[in-house]
Amino acid sequence: MKQIRLFIASIAFLTLTNFAFAQTLKYQNYSDEAKSINELSAKYGDLCKVLDIGKSAGGRTIYALEIGKGNSKEKPALLVIAGVENDDLTGTVSAKYFAETILANSNSDSVKALLDKYYLYVIPRLSPDALEGFFEKVKSLHIGDDFKIDQDKDGKFDEDGYNDLDGNNIITLMRITSVGGEWIESPDDPGLLKKADIKKGEFGKYIVMFEGIDDDKDGLVNEDPPGGININKNTTYNYKPYTDDGGLYPFQAPELRALGDFVFDRPNIIAVFTFNNHNNILDAWKIRNPQAQSQGPGSGAPSGGMGGRGGNSGSMFLADSIAYAMVVKDVAPLSKYKGDAEGSGDIPGWAFYDAGRLSFCAPAWTYPEMKDTSRARGNNRQQMTQERAPGAFGAQAAQEKSLTREQIAYRWIKKNAPQNFIEWKEFKHPDFPNNKVEIGGLVPFTISNPPEDSLKNASAISYKLIYKLFKDLPDLYVDAPLVEPLGNGVSRVTLTIGNKGKMPTHTTTGRRVKALQSFLIRTKLADGQSIESGKKVTFIEEPLQGGGKITRTFLIVGKGKVEFNIGSPSAGYKNVSVQL
């Protein structure tokens, strides 16, 4: 009887400790989240450290969780990043949930085995400034971080921001009926707007901007709102200059500098998962023939042409494209949330092409598509650059015939949460006395963030996906060395090195951008021994793919113990020795 009671009690205890906190997932502002991160590290002190990796443009500390034991420099690692899009709070919740759950389960056999072999880094909120807009009295989407930019070049900063004209404490859109407008109602989703396509016979009807008036009386409305740089448009990968929210030059955002330094200082990170609007697991990146040069003479020339990158999508080095495809195949069934097309200057693209890590990304949440998809037709939007109305709307659909996340959200919201779409209502606007002005649109943050009671479900789904990636990290092993005595004190030693993980020991891109270290075999001889064939330091440049095996042979003269140290920070290390 006592045993049964004990048994029940321990089950209950385990259940509670494992899932108690998970029942209460909430959207947190910056300071609440910062507090909970520090509490987490206090709770799991021996496994979890909080790192201060830099400051945002607005002066907020950017935190990273470092989870693991032993020397992190010698263990392959996965980096999880969230807080990248200016409206994605769900990602920060899911990223933190992933860390918490791993830590809570760190005594289970499976998680323990992973934490023995690997390290895990989680940056739950890389760009903390923009997300505070969710918690302000008047909810609005920020352009990006709090970087001071004089957008309209009038010598003043941030002097004409949004205004809550209809008094509902949210900033939505304004559409101004005007002959010169570029926007029309979306035929499939009349509450949404899309850019008119002359080629389809569509004529523009509206000028569109965020809700507001001309605060500084310069003839422009909301042309210099607070902030900033959208960090998911500010990396060096496929960077587009001269935009309103992409910064003056790539990596101008201090958040990205912090990320860059963090990643380059950790050559043990072999894979990166980013919560953002794009899903490169379901919409796999196009892998062009890496042998082909980019268009035009001289591009990619100076450092060798293989895998040269140009134009809009990169081409990968062959070994890396194999690795990427292998992992995508493995984890795709677990990726449930569709994304939009990849933007330019994005972090997942940077993580692979410029920082050389296997890079995976997906939204933290997308609404379920409504069953009635009979009107689901391709609906390619363009970025809004002219009307200076930044934000989540205007994204491009991932595929020709698919819906954008905004459309998916709109259809679900219209049916299930209509209060999250503000119907277009006329407003007498002082700056446009002769035009019809209407205010309306999706409530900000609703495209990417479900009601709070759905957070646990969303986070649990992302948990499974990221956990699989974590399990897929490279797993180095070395067979017992084969020794063949050839007589006269000469021995042939053959090492067989294998990788039973799914990801490779390193990437060619990572080596080429000098972010990852070489995969080495260091040979230590006893006194009097010498290597006749082979080197003391053997470089293995070709990545050892998941499931792959290689051999290396050494001819060694002399008796004694030979020690081999094999590996790299991103592959881990194994030591073997032979007694000759």
Binding site: D150, K153, K217, T236, G298, S299, R309, L520
Partner: protein, 578 residues
């Protein structure tokens, strides 16, 4: 008796003062050679190189000698903790440095391209010492601002001057070969002669031989010749036992590929490092340039080759706008007259694409008209270059023999190399090939400075030429003003106007209440394009070079009028009408 003393006193006073005031064309002891400033306050010789301590002292002396013309500041610290000096030169009494069009100079972003520093220092020295003597210089400093950064990559330039190293890179440590060790295997001065030279080994059948005219020179054998040498490369040993020599020396990036325009990662652009401005020196200078939007023209000193280079440096975007090209062409062509043997070249079409370099970023993101001077050409040795593949090298040997008396070449000397056995080490000292000898250094300084002064003299010069007021009745007046830019450069480049990099030029009317106003089409038109918002501050995208701008306001009241022009890169000017 007393009167005689008075006489003597007055006479001697006159004698002494006449000597002082008659100094115009005489130095202390003799006739002044034309060119250099007369009796400079700060005495400097220009036939040698200056290290960090010396150039810091020189800048401080100049600053102390000319406090009203200079400001000396540090833009930040280098990796090894040295200051990145910037000297601002302008007549502060005639206006704030930020209110004048500015010219920016820097040098030695590549640490082995050392003599740019002397050129930049010479320019600073010459401007200051000539201010009171030369009206052309005086006018420049009264109306323009010069920002001069004599050394960018200070740490490695210091290493160039004081150690055997010859770094192009900076000194921030990088693991070049990815073996987990940082900067563990650089070049070695094996024979302790203070230089990193070449290694060769005598092998019968090797493909190199001695040149018959200059036995120290290594030349390739013709197909039917039997040679006796193999070349082993740069002086060094395998420090870390990995089978490679000199594969991971100090640094390991190219500071001139670390900037923000079209930055590309290492496998497309080698040396780019991690991300734009990841290197402390480039970051510090980038911040400085952003903080000084009055900079319109810039010049960077490199070596070598005798060229004035302009972008674009890559083929993906031909970013130069046509009218900006016209300005560059005009100035560049003139430069080739001022500095003989220099060619004016578009570096993409002339060489290879480079990504993430300084001058393209200055142009594309800051609207600056940039020049790169590649100093020193081998033409300087004999005013011509010997023909043939090895012509230039032969000229160097000839120059060493006849003008340097064999100072430049380190004789081939035997050495016992741990890996290669008996080899020979020798070669030209690192001062050969890209850097002038002492007696040609001052010429290089002066001619390039002269190009700078010519270039700077084209910076915009704005003035309000006239203001007129006509009564329209009912206390209303039409006020017209003519604004002139009397120099060739516009207040903004095309790239700036097209991409809205900087703010508009503003023309204020101060005094009476402004009812409306705008820009007039031309001098004789009456109608104007009305600026409805804030007409007391008219906004124009720019003021063209060698042009006039005509503005009109309708004002109420007969108050005293001030027309003020405020251009970020064109400077400030104003005029009053009573």
């Amino acid at each position: 008796m007393k009167n005689i003393f008075k006489y003597i006193f007055v006479l001697s006073f006159l004698l002494v003062s006449s000597r002082i005031f008659c100094q115009a064309n005489y130095t202390h002891s003799s006739l002044k050679a034309l060119g250099a400033p007369n009796n400079p306050k700060v005495q400097v010789v220009w036939d040698r190189f200056y290290d960090y301590k010396e150039l810091t002292g020189l800048l401080q002396k100049l600053n102390a000698a000319y406090p009203e013309l200079t400001r000396l500041e540090s833009l930040g610290k280098t990796y090894e903790g040295r200051d990145i000096w910037c000297i601002t030169i302008t007549n502060f009494k005639n206006g704030n440095e930020a209110d004048k069009p500015a010219y920016y100079i820097d040098a030695a972003i590549h640490a082995n391209e050392i003599q740019g520093t002397e050129v930049a220092l010479y320019t600073a020295w010459f401007l200051l010492e000539s201010y009171n003597q030369n009206p052309f210089v005086k006018n420049l400093l009264d109306t323009k601002t010069f920002y001069i950064v004599p050394v960018q990559s200070i740490d490695s330039r210091e290493a160039f001057l004081h150690t055997p190293l010859e770094l192009r890179s900076g000194k921030v440590p990088r693991d070049d070969d990815g073996d987990g060790l940082i900067d563990e295997d650089g070049p070695d001065d094996l024979n302790h002669d203070g230089y990193i030279s070449q290694m060769r080994i005598r092998i019968k059948g090797g493909r190199w031989k001695s040149d018959p005219d200059y036995p120290n020179m290594m030349v390739r054998c013709k197909p039917d010749e039997e040679g006796e040498f193999e070349l082993l490369g740069e002086e060094g040993i395998d420090n870390d036992g990995d089978g490679f020599i000199n594969e991971d020396g100090p640094g390991g990036y190219d500071p001139n590929r670390n900037w923000g325009w079209l930055w590309k990662p290492n496998y497309i652009q080698s040396g780019a490092d991690h991300y734009p401005f990841s290197i402390p020196e480039t970051k510090a200078i980038g911040e400085f340039l952003k903080k000084h939007p009055n900079i319109l023209t810039s010049e960077s000193y490199h070596n070598s080759g005798g060229m004035l280079l302009i972008g674009p440096d890559q083929n993906e975007q031909d970013i130069l706008y046509p009218r900006d090209i016209q300005l560059l062409d005009f100035i560049g062509e003139k430069g080739t007259e001022i500095i003989p043997y220099y060619k004016y070249i578009n570096s993409y079409k002339g060489f290879y694409p480079t990504y993430g370099d300084e001058t393209n970023w200055q142009y594309a993101d800051l609207g600056i008209l940039p020049f790169v001077n590649e100093l020193w050409t081998s033409m300087n040795m004999f005013r011509s270059v010997s023909p043939g593949r090895e012509g230039e090298q032969k000229d160097e040997f000839k120059f060493d023999k006849l003008l340097l008396f064999n100072e430049a070449f380190l004789e081939w000397k035997e050495f016992n190399h741990p890996q290669f056995g008996k080899i020979e080490i020798g070669g030209f000292k690192k001062q050969v090939g890209r850097i002038p000898p002492s007696f040609l250094l001052e010429e290089e300084c002066h001619r390039n400075m002269a190009f700078t002064l010519f270039n700077a003299s084209l910076l915009p010069s704005l003035s309000v030429e006239e203001i007129n007021r006509v009564s329209l009745g009912k206390d209303l007046y039409r006020v017209t003003a003519v604004i002139r830019n009397s120099k060739q450069l516009p207040t903004k480049l095309d790239v700036d106007v097209q991409n809205k990099l900087t703010r508009a030029d503003w023309i204020y009317l101060k005094g009476p209440k402004v009812v409306t106003g705008g820009i007039k089409k031309d001098r004789f038109a009456v109608e104007f394009a009305e600026q409805k918002h804030n007409p007391q501050r008219l906004e124009v995208p720019r003021i063209e070079g060698n042009s006039f701008l005509f503005v009109t306001w309708i004002v109420k009241g007969k108050d005293k009028i001030t027309v003020e022009v405020d251009s970020e890169k064109g400077g400030k000017t104003s005029k009053q009408l009573n």
